[in-house]
Symmetry: C2
Subunit: 239 residues, 2 copies
Protein backbone atom coordinates (compact mmCIF):
# COMPACT_ATOMS: atom_id res chain seq x y z
CA UNK A 1 0.00 0.00 0.00
CA UNK A 2 0.97 3.61 -0.31
CA UNK A 3 -0.48 6.96 0.61
CA UNK A 4 -0.88 9.44 -2.21
CA UNK A 5 -1.61 13.02 -1.33
CA UNK A 6 -2.27 15.96 -3.64
CA UNK A 7 -2.93 19.66 -3.13
CA UNK A 8 -4.20 22.15 -5.71
CA UNK A 9 -4.44 25.77 -4.64
CA UNK A 10 -5.26 29.01 -6.40
CA UNK A 11 -5.50 32.61 -5.22
CA UNK A 12 -8.57 34.80 -5.38
CA UNK A 13 -8.50 36.70 -8.68
CA UNK A 14 -6.01 39.57 -8.76
CA UNK A 15 -4.65 39.02 -5.26
CA UNK A 16 -1.05 38.10 -4.61
CA UNK A 17 -1.63 36.64 -1.14
CA UNK A 18 -3.88 33.66 -0.51
CA UNK A 19 -5.82 33.55 2.76
CA UNK A 20 -5.45 29.78 2.61
CA UNK A 21 -2.39 28.00 3.93
CA UNK A 22 -1.53 24.35 3.62
CA UNK A 23 1.54 22.45 4.72
CA UNK A 24 2.55 18.81 4.94
CA UNK A 25 4.79 17.64 7.75
CA UNK A 26 6.31 14.34 8.81
CA UNK A 27 5.07 12.84 12.08
CA UNK A 28 7.84 11.91 14.51
CA UNK A 29 6.32 8.47 15.16
CA UNK A 30 5.76 7.70 11.49
CA UNK A 31 3.38 8.98 8.86
CA UNK A 32 2.55 12.47 7.68
CA UNK A 33 0.02 15.17 8.43
CA UNK A 34 -1.52 17.74 6.14
CA UNK A 35 -2.72 20.94 7.77
CA UNK A 36 -5.06 23.37 6.00
CA UNK A 37 -6.31 26.71 7.32
CA UNK A 38 -8.39 29.52 5.85
CA UNK A 39 -8.08 32.89 7.57
CA UNK A 40 -11.04 35.23 7.89
CA UNK A 41 -11.52 37.59 4.88
CA UNK A 42 -8.83 37.63 2.16
CA UNK A 43 -5.47 39.08 1.18
CA UNK A 44 -2.51 39.88 3.43
CA UNK A 45 -4.42 39.84 6.73
CA UNK A 46 -6.03 36.49 6.06
CA UNK A 47 -2.71 35.04 4.93
CA UNK A 48 -1.11 36.10 8.18
CA UNK A 49 -3.86 34.41 10.20
CA UNK A 50 -3.87 31.16 8.29
CA UNK A 51 -0.10 30.86 8.26
CA UNK A 52 0.08 31.59 11.99
CA UNK A 53 -2.42 28.78 12.59
CA UNK A 54 -0.74 26.27 10.27
CA UNK A 55 2.70 27.11 11.67
CA UNK A 56 1.54 26.49 15.23
CA UNK A 57 -0.09 23.19 14.31
CA UNK A 58 2.81 21.75 12.27
CA UNK A 59 5.26 22.78 14.93
CA UNK A 60 3.25 20.92 17.60
CA UNK A 61 2.61 17.86 15.41
CA UNK A 62 6.29 17.57 14.57
CA UNK A 63 7.00 17.45 18.30
CA UNK A 64 4.64 14.50 18.69
CA UNK A 65 1.60 16.38 20.05
CA UNK A 66 -1.73 14.65 19.24
CA UNK A 67 -3.84 16.21 16.49
CA UNK A 68 -6.73 17.16 18.77
CA UNK A 69 -4.42 18.84 21.26
CA UNK A 70 -2.64 20.69 18.44
CA UNK A 71 -5.99 22.00 17.12
CA UNK A 72 -7.00 23.18 20.62
CA UNK A 73 -3.64 24.84 21.08
CA UNK A 74 -3.98 26.66 17.75
CA UNK A 75 -7.44 27.85 18.73
CA UNK A 76 -6.29 29.17 22.10
CA UNK A 77 -3.26 30.76 20.48
CA UNK A 78 -5.29 32.58 17.82
CA UNK A 79 -7.88 33.60 20.44
CA UNK A 80 -5.13 35.04 22.63
CA UNK A 81 -3.18 36.71 19.81
CA UNK A 82 -6.22 38.37 18.22
CA UNK A 83 -8.41 38.73 21.32
CA UNK A 84 -11.23 36.63 19.90
CA UNK A 85 -11.81 38.99 16.99
CA UNK A 86 -10.52 36.85 14.14
CA UNK A 87 -11.49 33.36 13.08
CA UNK A 88 -9.92 30.71 10.91
CA UNK A 89 -10.99 27.31 9.77
CA UNK A 90 -8.61 24.45 10.44
CA UNK A 91 -8.39 20.91 9.09
CA UNK A 92 -5.79 18.30 9.89
CA UNK A 93 -5.58 14.93 8.21
CA UNK A 94 -2.94 12.55 9.50
CA UNK A 95 -1.65 9.23 8.34
CA UNK A 96 -0.85 7.76 11.71
CA UNK A 97 1.46 4.76 11.45
CA UNK A 98 1.06 3.88 15.12
CA UNK A 99 -2.69 3.28 14.85
CA UNK A 100 -2.75 2.47 11.10
CA UNK A 101 -5.55 4.96 10.68
CA UNK A 102 -6.29 8.21 8.96
CA UNK A 103 -7.16 10.78 11.61
CA UNK A 104 -9.40 13.60 10.37
CA UNK A 105 -9.66 16.69 12.56
CA UNK A 106 -12.12 19.49 11.75
CA UNK A 107 -12.62 23.00 13.02
CA UNK A 108 -14.44 23.94 9.86
CA UNK A 109 -18.17 24.10 9.12
CA UNK A 110 -17.43 22.55 5.71
CA UNK A 111 -17.56 18.77 5.49
CA UNK A 112 -14.68 16.44 4.76
CA UNK A 113 -15.69 13.90 2.12
CA UNK A 114 -14.74 10.29 2.71
CA UNK A 115 -15.08 7.81 -0.15
CA UNK A 116 -14.54 4.11 0.18
CA UNK A 117 -15.76 1.37 -2.13
CA UNK A 118 -16.99 4.10 -4.50
CA UNK A 119 -19.47 5.38 -1.91
CA UNK A 120 -19.07 8.92 -0.63
CA UNK A 121 -20.08 9.98 2.83
CA UNK A 122 -19.63 13.39 4.38
CA UNK A 123 -18.03 13.94 7.77
CA UNK A 124 -20.17 17.00 8.38
CA UNK A 125 -21.21 17.12 12.04
CA UNK A 126 -21.51 20.68 13.24
CA UNK A 127 -18.33 22.32 14.46
CA UNK A 128 -16.86 25.80 14.79
CA UNK A 129 -13.86 27.56 13.32
CA UNK A 130 -11.14 28.49 15.77
CA UNK A 131 -10.15 31.82 17.30
CA UNK A 132 -13.50 33.32 18.34
CA UNK A 133 -14.23 31.56 21.62
CA UNK A 134 -12.47 29.89 24.48
CA UNK A 135 -12.97 26.15 24.72
CA UNK A 136 -13.38 25.58 21.00
CA UNK A 137 -13.04 21.85 20.33
CA UNK A 138 -12.34 20.04 17.12
CA UNK A 139 -14.30 17.09 15.79
CA UNK A 140 -12.19 14.04 15.13
CA UNK A 141 -12.90 10.98 13.03
CA UNK A 142 -10.63 7.98 12.59
CA UNK A 143 -10.76 5.74 9.53
CA UNK A 144 -8.71 2.55 9.00
CA UNK A 145 -6.12 2.76 6.24
CA UNK A 146 -7.54 0.52 3.52
CA UNK A 147 -6.94 0.53 -0.22
CA UNK A 148 -9.54 2.59 -2.07
CA UNK A 149 -10.06 5.09 0.72
CA UNK A 150 -10.23 8.64 -0.65
CA UNK A 151 -10.54 11.72 1.55
CA UNK A 152 -11.24 15.16 0.11
CA UNK A 153 -11.11 18.46 1.97
CA UNK A 154 -11.36 22.01 0.71
CA UNK A 155 -11.72 25.62 1.71
CA UNK A 156 -14.89 27.64 1.14
CA UNK A 157 -13.64 29.06 -2.16
CA UNK A 158 -14.69 25.76 -3.72
CA UNK A 159 -18.19 26.11 -2.27
CA UNK A 160 -18.56 29.76 -3.27
CA UNK A 161 -17.39 29.18 -6.83
CA UNK A 162 -20.05 30.37 -9.26
CA UNK A 163 -21.69 32.68 -6.74
CA UNK A 164 -21.13 35.64 -9.07
CA UNK A 165 -23.54 34.08 -11.56
CA UNK A 166 -25.77 32.30 -9.03
CA UNK A 167 -24.33 28.88 -9.84
CA UNK A 168 -22.54 26.42 -7.62
CA UNK A 169 -20.57 23.22 -7.79
CA UNK A 170 -22.26 20.04 -6.58
CA UNK A 171 -19.05 18.74 -5.05
CA UNK A 172 -20.37 15.32 -4.02
CA UNK A 173 -21.79 14.53 -7.44
CA UNK A 174 -18.70 15.87 -9.17
CA UNK A 175 -16.43 13.77 -6.97
CA UNK A 176 -18.60 10.70 -7.51
CA UNK A 177 -18.27 11.07 -11.27
CA UNK A 178 -14.49 11.51 -11.04
CA UNK A 179 -14.17 8.42 -8.83
CA UNK A 180 -16.44 6.34 -11.10
CA UNK A 181 -14.33 7.32 -14.10
CA UNK A 182 -11.20 6.42 -12.24
CA UNK A 183 -12.33 2.97 -11.27
CA UNK A 184 -12.61 2.01 -14.91
CA UNK A 185 -9.14 3.28 -15.69
CA UNK A 186 -7.73 1.48 -12.64
CA UNK A 187 -5.11 3.97 -11.43
CA UNK A 188 -6.65 6.85 -9.49
CA UNK A 189 -4.42 9.91 -9.27
CA UNK A 190 -5.29 12.24 -6.41
CA UNK A 191 -3.73 15.15 -8.31
CA UNK A 192 -6.23 14.57 -11.12
CA UNK A 193 -9.11 14.62 -8.63
CA UNK A 194 -7.84 17.83 -6.99
CA UNK A 195 -7.11 19.46 -10.34
CA UNK A 196 -10.50 18.62 -11.82
CA UNK A 197 -12.38 19.91 -8.76
CA UNK A 198 -10.34 23.12 -8.88
CA UNK A 199 -10.77 23.50 -12.63
CA UNK A 200 -14.55 23.05 -12.36
CA UNK A 201 -14.68 25.75 -9.68
CA UNK A 202 -12.50 28.17 -11.64
CA UNK A 203 -14.67 27.61 -14.70
CA UNK A 204 -17.81 28.50 -12.69
CA UNK A 205 -15.97 31.67 -11.67
CA UNK A 206 -15.20 32.40 -15.35
CA UNK A 207 -11.49 32.06 -14.74
CA UNK A 208 -11.49 34.72 -12.01
CA UNK A 209 -11.86 32.94 -8.66
CA UNK A 210 -14.08 34.90 -6.22
CA UNK A 211 -12.11 33.49 -3.30
CA UNK A 212 -8.93 31.58 -2.54
CA UNK A 213 -9.49 27.89 -3.26
CA UNK A 214 -7.59 24.94 -1.81
CA UNK A 215 -8.38 21.29 -2.50
CA UNK A 216 -6.60 18.43 -0.75
CA UNK A 217 -7.06 14.81 -1.79
CA UNK A 218 -5.59 11.85 0.09
CA UNK A 219 -5.83 8.36 -1.30
CA UNK A 220 -4.80 4.97 0.01
CA UNK A 221 -3.55 3.03 -2.98
CA UNK A 222 -3.00 -0.71 -3.24
CA UNK A 223 -0.13 0.01 -5.65
CA UNK A 224 2.98 -1.92 -4.78
CA UNK A 225 5.42 0.77 -3.83
CA UNK A 226 9.17 0.70 -4.46
CA UNK A 227 9.81 1.82 -0.83
CA UNK A 228 10.55 5.31 -2.11
CA UNK A 229 9.01 8.38 -0.60
CA UNK A 230 8.36 11.11 -3.14
CA UNK A 231 7.27 14.71 -2.98
CA UNK A 232 6.72 17.30 -5.70
CA UNK A 233 5.87 20.98 -5.58
CA UNK A 234 4.82 23.28 -8.42
CA UNK A 235 4.95 26.93 -7.50
CA UNK A 236 3.83 29.62 -9.97
CA UNK A 237 6.23 32.57 -10.15
CA UNK A 238 5.01 36.06 -10.79
CA UNK A 239 8.19 38.07 -10.96
Amino acid sequence: MEIQLAVAKINKYATSDSGDSVEVVERPNGGISVVMADGQSSGKGAKQISSLVVRKVISLLSEGVRDGAAARAASDYLFTERKGKVSATLNIVSIDMQTATMVITRNNPLPVLIASNAEICAFDDECSPIGLYRETRPLISEVPLEPGLVVVLYTDGLVHAGSRSGESLDINTFLQSVIDDDIEEEETKPQDIADSLLAAAVQLDQGRPVDDITVVVILVSSRKNDSTRRMTVELPLNL
Copy 2:
Protein backbone atom coordinates in the same frame (compact mmCIF):
# COMPACT_ATOMS: atom_id res chain seq x y z
CA MET B 1 7.77 30.78 -15.00
CA GLU B 2 7.24 28.23 -12.33
CA ILE B 3 9.32 26.41 -9.75
CA GLN B 4 9.21 22.64 -9.84
CA LEU B 5 10.61 20.74 -6.91
CA ALA B 6 10.94 17.00 -6.43
CA VAL B 7 12.18 14.76 -3.64
CA ALA B 8 12.97 11.05 -3.83
CA LYS B 9 13.97 9.32 -0.62
CA ILE B 10 14.67 5.73 0.37
CA ASN B 11 15.70 4.11 3.65
CA LYS B 12 18.84 2.11 4.23
CA TYR B 13 18.09 -1.55 3.55
CA ALA B 14 16.07 -3.23 6.29
CA THR B 15 15.71 -0.16 8.49
CA SER B 16 12.35 1.39 9.27
CA ASP B 17 13.73 4.80 10.24
CA SER B 18 15.64 7.01 7.84
CA GLY B 19 18.41 9.17 9.24
CA ASP B 20 17.55 11.70 6.54
CA SER B 21 14.79 14.25 6.98
CA VAL B 22 13.43 16.63 4.40
CA GLU B 23 10.58 19.11 4.61
CA VAL B 24 9.21 21.86 2.42
CA VAL B 25 7.76 24.98 3.99
CA GLU B 26 6.19 28.18 2.71
CA ARG B 27 8.13 31.40 3.33
CA PRO B 28 6.07 34.14 4.98
CA ASN B 29 7.26 36.75 2.47
CA GLY B 30 6.63 34.55 -0.56
CA GLY B 31 8.29 31.48 -1.98
CA ILE B 32 9.19 28.16 -0.45
CA SER B 33 12.16 26.53 1.24
CA VAL B 34 13.28 22.94 1.21
CA VAL B 35 15.31 21.78 4.20
CA MET B 36 17.32 18.55 4.16
CA ALA B 37 19.33 17.08 7.04
CA ASP B 38 21.23 13.85 7.54
CA GLY B 39 21.87 12.82 11.14
CA GLN B 40 25.08 11.09 12.16
CA SER B 41 24.97 7.24 11.83
CA SER B 42 21.64 5.61 10.94
CA GLY B 43 18.36 4.33 12.34
CA LYS B 44 16.30 5.80 15.19
CA GLY B 45 19.06 7.95 16.70
CA ALA B 46 19.96 9.54 13.38
CA LYS B 47 16.30 10.14 12.58
CA GLN B 48 15.87 11.96 15.87
CA ILE B 49 18.82 14.23 15.12
CA SER B 50 17.86 15.05 11.56
CA SER B 51 14.24 15.73 12.43
CA LEU B 52 15.26 17.93 15.36
CA VAL B 53 17.43 19.97 12.97
CA VAL B 54 14.85 20.21 10.19
CA ARG B 55 12.08 21.10 12.67
CA LYS B 56 14.14 23.93 14.14
CA VAL B 57 15.00 25.31 10.70
CA ILE B 58 11.47 25.19 9.22
CA SER B 59 10.05 26.72 12.35
CA LEU B 60 12.48 29.65 12.10
CA LEU B 61 12.07 30.08 8.34
CA SER B 62 8.29 30.14 8.67
CA GLU B 63 8.68 33.01 11.14
CA GLY B 64 10.66 35.00 8.56
CA VAL B 65 14.17 34.31 9.88
CA ARG B 66 16.86 34.46 7.17
CA ASP B 67 18.28 31.15 5.95
CA GLY B 68 21.80 31.78 7.23
CA ALA B 69 20.55 32.73 10.67
CA ALA B 70 18.30 29.66 10.76
CA ALA B 71 21.26 27.40 9.90
CA ARG B 72 23.39 28.98 12.64
CA ALA B 73 20.54 28.62 15.11
CA ALA B 74 20.13 24.94 14.23
CA SER B 75 23.86 24.40 14.70
CA ASP B 76 23.90 26.08 18.11
CA TYR B 77 20.76 24.21 19.11
CA LEU B 78 22.18 20.80 18.17
CA PHE B 79 25.53 21.67 19.80
CA THR B 80 23.74 22.62 23.02
CA GLU B 81 21.28 19.69 23.02
CA ARG B 82 23.91 17.04 22.33
CA LYS B 83 26.93 18.73 23.92
CA GLY B 84 28.90 18.79 20.67
CA LYS B 85 28.92 15.01 20.39
CA VAL B 86 26.61 14.55 17.42
CA SER B 87 26.78 16.06 13.95
CA ALA B 88 24.30 16.48 11.15
CA THR B 89 24.55 17.83 7.65
CA LEU B 90 22.13 20.57 6.71
CA ASN B 91 21.06 22.03 3.37
CA ILE B 92 18.49 24.72 2.75
CA VAL B 93 17.37 25.82 -0.69
CA SER B 94 14.94 28.70 -0.83
CA ILE B 95 12.95 30.30 -3.59
CA ASP B 96 12.97 33.83 -2.29
CA MET B 97 10.32 35.99 -3.95
CA GLN B 98 11.65 39.18 -2.39
CA THR B 99 15.05 38.91 -4.08
CA ALA B 100 13.92 36.75 -7.04
CA THR B 101 16.78 34.39 -6.31
CA MET B 102 17.41 30.85 -5.28
CA VAL B 103 19.33 30.90 -2.00
CA ILE B 104 21.45 27.81 -1.40
CA THR B 105 22.72 27.24 2.14
CA ARG B 106 25.19 24.44 2.93
CA ASN B 107 26.48 22.90 6.12
CA ASN B 108 27.41 19.76 4.28
CA PRO B 109 30.75 18.64 2.85
CA LEU B 110 28.87 17.32 -0.20
CA PRO B 111 28.45 19.71 -3.11
CA VAL B 112 25.19 21.15 -4.41
CA LEU B 113 25.08 20.84 -8.19
CA ILE B 114 23.88 23.85 -10.15
CA ALA B 115 23.05 23.43 -13.82
CA SER B 116 22.15 26.26 -16.14
CA ASN B 117 22.30 26.30 -19.92
CA ALA B 118 23.13 22.58 -19.80
CA GLU B 119 26.39 23.25 -17.95
CA ILE B 120 26.83 21.81 -14.50
CA CYS B 121 28.93 23.45 -11.84
CA ALA B 122 29.40 22.30 -8.28
CA PHE B 123 28.93 24.60 -5.30
CA ASP B 124 31.53 22.68 -3.32
CA ASP B 125 33.59 25.11 -1.24
CA GLU B 126 34.67 23.52 2.00
CA CYS B 127 32.21 23.68 4.88
CA SER B 128 31.39 21.74 8.03
CA PRO B 129 28.35 19.86 9.24
CA ILE B 130 26.57 21.35 12.24
CA GLY B 131 26.54 20.32 15.89
CA LEU B 132 30.21 19.61 16.63
CA TYR B 133 31.61 23.09 17.23
CA ARG B 134 30.55 26.51 18.34
CA GLU B 135 30.59 29.17 15.64
CA THR B 136 29.84 26.81 12.78
CA ARG B 137 28.86 28.91 9.79
CA PRO B 138 27.01 27.91 6.64
CA LEU B 139 28.12 28.72 3.11
CA ILE B 140 25.53 30.58 1.11
CA SER B 141 25.20 31.07 -2.64
CA GLU B 142 22.53 33.08 -4.41
CA VAL B 143 21.49 32.37 -7.99
CA PRO B 144 18.98 34.43 -10.03
CA LEU B 145 15.73 32.61 -10.87
CA GLU B 146 16.03 32.00 -14.60
CA PRO B 147 14.37 29.35 -16.76
CA GLY B 148 16.56 26.29 -17.19
CA LEU B 149 18.19 26.54 -13.79
CA VAL B 150 18.42 23.12 -12.13
CA VAL B 151 19.74 22.57 -8.63
CA VAL B 152 20.43 19.11 -7.25
CA LEU B 153 21.27 18.21 -3.66
CA TYR B 154 21.60 14.86 -1.97
CA THR B 155 22.70 13.08 1.16
CA ASP B 156 25.79 10.89 1.33
CA GLY B 157 23.85 7.70 0.66
CA LEU B 158 23.97 8.69 -3.02
CA VAL B 159 27.74 9.06 -2.87
CA HIS B 160 28.31 5.80 -0.97
CA ALA B 161 26.08 3.76 -3.28
CA GLY B 162 28.04 0.86 -4.73
CA SER B 163 30.66 0.89 -1.95
CA ARG B 164 29.82 -2.73 -1.12
CA SER B 165 31.20 -3.77 -4.50
CA GLY B 166 33.79 -1.00 -4.84
CA GLU B 167 31.75 0.91 -7.42
CA SER B 168 30.37 4.42 -7.26
CA LEU B 169 28.03 6.71 -9.10
CA ASP B 170 29.57 9.55 -11.13
CA ILE B 171 26.81 11.94 -10.17
CA ASN B 172 27.92 14.84 -12.39
CA THR B 173 28.17 12.72 -15.51
CA PHE B 174 24.90 10.97 -14.73
CA LEU B 175 23.13 14.28 -14.19
CA GLN B 176 24.62 15.70 -17.40
CA SER B 177 23.27 12.76 -19.39
CA VAL B 178 19.81 13.13 -17.83
CA ILE B 179 19.76 16.85 -18.60
CA ASP B 180 21.00 16.34 -22.16
CA ASP B 181 18.24 13.78 -22.74
CA ASP B 182 15.69 16.13 -21.30
CA ILE B 183 16.60 19.02 -23.52
CA GLU B 184 15.67 17.01 -26.60
CA GLU B 185 12.31 16.06 -25.14
CA GLU B 186 11.65 19.66 -24.11
CA GLU B 187 9.84 19.19 -20.80
CA THR B 188 12.22 18.42 -17.95
CA LYS B 189 10.57 16.77 -14.97
CA PRO B 190 12.52 17.13 -11.73
CA GLN B 191 10.86 13.98 -10.38
CA ASP B 192 12.35 12.03 -13.29
CA ILE B 193 15.80 13.43 -12.51
CA ALA B 194 15.49 12.59 -8.81
CA ASP B 195 14.04 9.15 -9.52
CA SER B 196 16.72 8.23 -12.04
CA LEU B 197 19.55 9.31 -9.73
CA LEU B 198 18.00 7.31 -6.89
CA ALA B 199 17.38 4.28 -9.12
CA ALA B 200 20.99 4.32 -10.36
CA ALA B 201 22.22 4.39 -6.75
CA VAL B 202 19.91 1.60 -5.60
CA GLN B 203 21.02 -0.49 -8.58
CA LEU B 204 24.69 -0.05 -7.58
CA ASP B 205 23.65 -1.24 -4.12
CA GLN B 206 21.97 -4.30 -5.69
CA GLY B 207 18.57 -3.16 -4.45
CA ARG B 208 19.71 -3.01 -0.82
CA PRO B 209 20.79 0.60 -0.12
CA VAL B 210 23.84 0.73 2.18
CA ASP B 211 22.66 4.05 3.57
CA ASP B 212 19.59 6.31 3.59
CA ILE B 213 19.45 8.23 0.31
CA THR B 214 17.67 11.51 -0.35
CA VAL B 215 17.75 13.41 -3.64
CA VAL B 216 16.20 16.85 -4.09
CA VAL B 217 15.88 18.51 -7.50
CA ILE B 218 14.65 22.06 -8.02
CA LEU B 219 14.02 23.40 -11.47
CA VAL B 220 12.99 26.79 -12.80
CA SER B 221 10.68 26.11 -15.73
CA SER B 222 9.60 28.53 -18.43
CA ARG B 223 6.28 26.67 -18.60
CA LYS B 224 3.33 29.02 -18.52
CA ASN B 225 1.65 28.17 -15.27
CA ASP B 226 -2.10 28.26 -14.64
CA SER B 227 -1.52 30.19 -11.38
CA THR B 228 -2.14 26.98 -9.47
CA ARG B 229 0.15 25.78 -6.73
CA ARG B 230 0.38 22.01 -6.55
CA MET B 231 1.92 19.54 -4.18
CA THR B 232 1.99 15.76 -4.17
CA VAL B 233 3.30 13.22 -1.70
CA GLU B 234 3.78 9.48 -2.13
CA LEU B 235 4.38 7.65 1.12
CA PRO B 236 5.06 3.91 1.19
CA LEU B 237 3.11 2.10 3.89
CA ASN B 238 4.55 -0.90 5.67
CA LEU B 239 1.75 -1.98 7.93
